[in-house]
């Protein structure tokens, strides 16, 4: 992981050399916008921070309102069998978070307490439950959609938002372990889902422009694990399956993906037996909005005092 100390600076004379000046993360803590928990990437949020997240959530809802997406909300945990079937472990075993629980009897309880008391590992007896932390907002959706039977001729469109978990502890505030992702998910024919992705590439770009943030759209790949993952990543790029809308937050050289536009082809359709009206395998695509990441981009570029943000930006967010 690149250290913040070497991160180049921009947009204000902020010298993150780690000696004389506090980092962006430190300033977020100092200002009370984020709250330390002792775990990198796991933070509390202040009312001010949340007011931006909520405004963005509403803004994204307004941008998509005309499409009449079906709103669904899932908790940040999903069924373990569904998670296993999704194939997530093939690509990202290192990022997954499983929920474990104490399943023993009284004798084991006493042993557990003794371990805690002695500062020893008390987790050895914890058993995996049937819940896994949601890795992306759309993962719990596919089995639910497939259970309804074949798609109607016009396909389907869903509106999701969830806390998601990825185990990648980092000092970059934009790389949280638990964060919220708003998503629109389209299911249908290849033409339908690609048209959807195209429309959100446009809308998303306009949205970030309206928020007066610098941006670039780039071909991207998911962070697949290992050597096999390198091949998956190369394929994903070569086929133009994933694009990201990047905004410099921590550095100019390594900008932060704030929106992502993903074409899964028939991956989830095949995995879940999701079919189009004519019986052929459904294709899917999703657009994801990293709500904390966009919030952090706004704080980085417009300052930590929301009241001092440009009037035009405040109008977009709060009317």
């Amino acid at each position: 992981m690149e250290s913040l100390a070497s991160a180049p600076t921009f947009c204000e004379p902020l010298d993150d050399d780690g000696l004389s000046e506090p980092t962006f993360l430190d300033r977020l803590f100092d200002q009370g916008l984020l709250v330390r928990t002792g775990v990198d990437g796991l933070y509390g949020r202040s009312g001010a921070f949340e007011s931006v997240v909520e405004a963005l959530d509403r803004l994204i809802g307004r941008l998509g309102a005309a499409d009449n997406a079906e709103v669904l909300r899932f908790p940040p945990g999903m069924s373990r069998p569904a998670f296993e079937r999704s194939g997530y472990l093939k690509g990202f075993p290192n990022l997954a978070g499983t929920v474990h629980s104490f399943c023993g009897h009284e004798g084991e309880h006493a042993k557990l307490l003794a371990c805690v008391e002695a500062g020893e590992d008390w987790t050895a007896g914890q058993k995996a439950t049937d819940i896994v932390l949601t890795p992306a907002a759309c993962y719990p959706l596919y089995p639910v959609a497939a259970a309804r039977g074949a798609l109607p001729a016009e396909g389907r469109l869903f509106d999701l938002q969830s806390y998601c978990f990825r185990r990648e502890p980092s000092l970059e505030p934009t790389r949280m372990q638990l964060f919220r992702m708003r998503e629109y998910v389209r299911m249908g024919s290849p033409d339908q889902v690609l048209a959807f992705r195209e429309s959100w590439l446009e809308r998303g770009t306009q949205m970030i422009r309206d928020l007066a943030l610098p941006l670039a759209i780039d071909a991207a790949n998911d962070p697949f694990f290992g050597r096999a993952g390198r091949m998956l990543a190369n394929n994903q790029r070569a086929q133009g399956l994933k694009f990201e809308l990047n905004v410099p937050v921590n550095s100019v050289e390594k900008p932060t993906a704030c929106l992502s536009f993903n074409y899964h082809q028939d991956h989830f359709g095949t995995t879940w037996g999701l079919t189009q009206a004519d019986g052929s395998v459904a294709h899917t695509a999703c657009v994801g909005f990293g709500l904390e990441r966009i919030t952090l981009a706004l704080l980085r570029h417009h300052g930590l005092d929301l009241a001092a943000w440009p009037e035009a930006v405040r109008r977009v967010l709060w009317g």
Binding site: G87, K90, R227, A228, R230, M231, L232, N234, N235, Q236, A238, Q239, H267, T270
Partner: protein, 84 residues
């Protein structure tokens, strides 16, 4: 030179290609025949094990594994490089 049969035998281990592995011509696109991304990764690993080679990063692409001919050429070049 690596024979097409050796490649077909390995393709036959893939679920989607197993029933047709014997009939696929050297230039037919395996992805059109039902090979998917994860299948291509498994194919890559199986080829590495069978021929005792390691694909360098720049060959870890869809293109390298798209036809029996391209697989033969890629694997042959790696086997020769090992032998040299």
């Amino acid at each position: 030179m690596v024979s097409p049969e050796a490649i077909r035998n390995i393709l036959a281990r893939n679920e989607a290609l197993a029933p047709i592995a014997g009939e696929i011509s050297e230039d037919e696109n395996l992805f059109d025949k039902g090979l998917d991304s994860f299948g291509s990764v498994q194919l890559m690993l199986a080829l590495e094990e069978h021929f005792d080679v390691e694909f360098p990063d720049h060959l870890l692409s869809r293109k390298s594994f798209s036809t029996i001919r391209s697989i033969r050429e890629t694997v042959s070049s790696l086997v020769q490089a090992e032998a040299a």
